[in-house]
Symmetry: C2
Subunit: 396 residues, 2 copies
């Protein structure tokens, strides 16, 4: 398995959407935090604005001169246009579109930029065609597998630290000091960055009660016999994300933690059963396969997310993943999407008690025509074990 | 010096701006990538939308339930409102503003959200009052000093690796393998994340020709006797950025590299001379103090940024820094801002030759009433030296 060195972007569906709307161009303006823009251009312009323009003449990226060499290496479209000190991004875009034409822009465009474009063209605000996002090409699936490998290495680092830690009467110590969520998080981040993966601020590590916050990124002591919930979502090659969750308990495993683990593990198996039918499974069906297991043990389910008033599962059970960490299809009771071959999605049932802790287990799978492929092969056990991480293979 | 554990936000100027515009509320909707929103709320909601609402009744943050505990710890305003599965962000915001009122929103608001707000209120699109950004409080200056310490530790790690490296006839080797910009970058990132600082995708390391790209984040071999340009801009406590640049040459220092270094070093001193007057200095004056030194050696200056057609300085010489990596005041020939006491700004002259390499030196200073304070004390030399980094003090 190797990561592709260049990556095509399929502009055909977008071109179709522009044509069928009787528009002359699609203009997407944003900065390096704009996932879809990066997908269209393959270039990250940090906090600087850049534009992608699709017309009948082809695809153009417009950016500051400092990013031209990067665009020459990565942009899969036809031409590169530079802004300069006198000519901002909208002015530069105006050079390649008809001033009396209809220009489609996405909903995410800022009103300031939309106004500037309005003074230049007839702007038509649209959503991006969803089809760009959901079914991944072979090359994108190779990147997803690469990211699955990377995040498993991150979990292995966390699990190893927890296994090495000394569980005392009232604290967990590692390398001579009390272990906290932030200390553990930094060890995981060191592993991720050594693989060239980027922390996007979502290296979630909760301990005990803070597991029920779902996305805890603060500092809290790791205490004996309580859950440590780890959920990693770093960004890798071409901006594609990985995602994984595992839960460990340093010390003795008590009844609640054991039951929570078994319930979540059963929910995961239930999801895999449903997924074995492959493409055509409903995203609601997938959610229900997990929620019903949780409910069968007397716990609540829902999407209210509040840690205060429920013991149960109160988030969705998974989502598509690509250049966005969360994308369609989303799994919920009311979801109306069907899984399609090539969808790369997370499966992440959880069970939380705001007074005790929380368990979440998460894998990433690829939907196939007649089944699915699980990109993870990481064990699910609660008791931490020292893992041999090994040298990262070529491609990192 | 310790980093504050909580941080106030001054809403007074914003409230004044709302009042003097005869508006009823200010509504800022964005996600965790929106620097100003994070400044207003002190909460990072990752890829989820959140809102900040300022009315005569006070300041409210509106976010998904999972971020409520984080908001309870950090939001300096008056109240916290949760969205839920049925009620999105705009609907939640509508609960606290008058539906027949005038609501000011920033230019950065997406057109999709602006349209939703329009159907609810009379929306008035504005820029944020700049005054929020530029003069830093004592607490913010303490964070700036903390970030200056952090980025110097990052540079120390890079310099140490370069000093340890073995310079052979045609390659630079470190720990048994050829040293590349990406290998060196990962070592720096490991240091940064071990300090709890977050890489924002701008750990710039260029080698030889790629130094002239200004923000090179790709992989290239580090070659003997060529410049290695390192520019770090990570994010730290409360989302505040640090920034530093140094340039080293592994191997023999040749004439061009020596001259480029001396010219840039002289430009930096010239800037410090101008800064010694303190508040009131023009941002253009500061730029010119550096540009004129570059020009006096026969090199070009300008803002065209293009690596192809110039040997010289072709970027601005510095910018304000805070919760945004680049903010006012910007230093250029045409800048009309005056420095004010409390401005935290970078000073970063550079000199580039697309066929040879580039030198940039960058410190961060605080403008004072009658002078300035340089937050950096890192040596400028071209020849890498092994540095003792030492344990990070409390506060990291």
């Amino acid at each position: 398995m190797t990561v592709p060195q260049t990556l095509d972007t399929d502009y055909i569906r977008l071109a179709d959407a522009v044509r069928s709307a009787d528009a002359d161009a699609y203009v997407h303006i944003g900065d390096g935090t704009d996932d879809l823009l990066r997908y269209l251009t393959r270039v990250d312009t940090e906090d600087n604005l850049a534009a992608f323009v699709l017309t009948a003449d082809g695809a153009t990226v417009c950016l500051r001169p400092r990013y031209r060499p990067e665009a020459e290496r990565k942009f899969p479209g036809d031409s590169i246009l530079e802004t300069d000190a006198e000519r901002g991004i909208v002015e530069a875009v105006s050079d390649i579109i008809e001033t009396d034409g209809v220009v489609r822009i996405p909903h995410t465009t800022s009103v300031g930029i939309a106004r500037d474009l309005e003074s230049l063209t007839s702007v038509d605000v649209v959503s991006e065609p969803d089809t760009i996002w959901c079914e991944k090409s072979d090359a994108e699936q190779r990147i997803a597998a690469h990211m699955a490998d990377g995040v498993q290495r991150g979990i292995a680092r966390a699990e190893t630290v927890l296994a090495e830690a000394v569980v005392a009467a009232d604290e967990v110590r590692w390398e001579g000091d009390a272990l906290t969520t932030e200390r553990l998080r930094r060890e995981v981040k060191k592993e991720l960055v050594s693989l060239g993966l980027r922390d996007m601020g979502n290296v979630v590590i909760g301990a005990g009660e803070s597991c029920a916050e779902l996305h805890f990124t603060g500092d809290a002591p790791i205490r004996p016999d309580e859950t440590v919930l780890i959920d990693l979502g770093p960004r890798g090659p071409f901006g594609y994300f990985g995602d994984i969750s595992r839960t460990f308990v340093p010390g003795e495993i008590r009844d609640w933690e054991q039951e929570a683990f078994e319930v979540v593990r059963e929910a995961l198996d239930s999801a895999f059963d449903v997924l074995s039918a492959g493409a055509g499974v409903g995203a609601d069906e997938l959610y229900l396969s997990m929620a019903e297991v949780i409910e069968s043990y007397g716990y609540e389910t829902g999407l209210h997310e509040s840690r205060d008033d429920a013991v149960g599962l109160y988030h969705g059970t998974g989502h598509g993943i690509g250049v966005r960490i969360h994308e369609k299809p989303f799994q919920s009771r009311d979801a109306d999407a069907e899984l399609r071959a090539g969808n790369v999605i997370t499966i992440e049932p959880g069970l939380y008690d705001p007074d005790r802790g929380g368990v979440r287990l998460e894998d990433v799978i690829v939907v196939e025509e007649d089944g699915y492929q699980n990109l993870m092969e990481y064990p699910y056990g609660l008791t931490p074990v020292e893992r041999e991480i090994g040298e990262a293979p070529d491609g990192y």
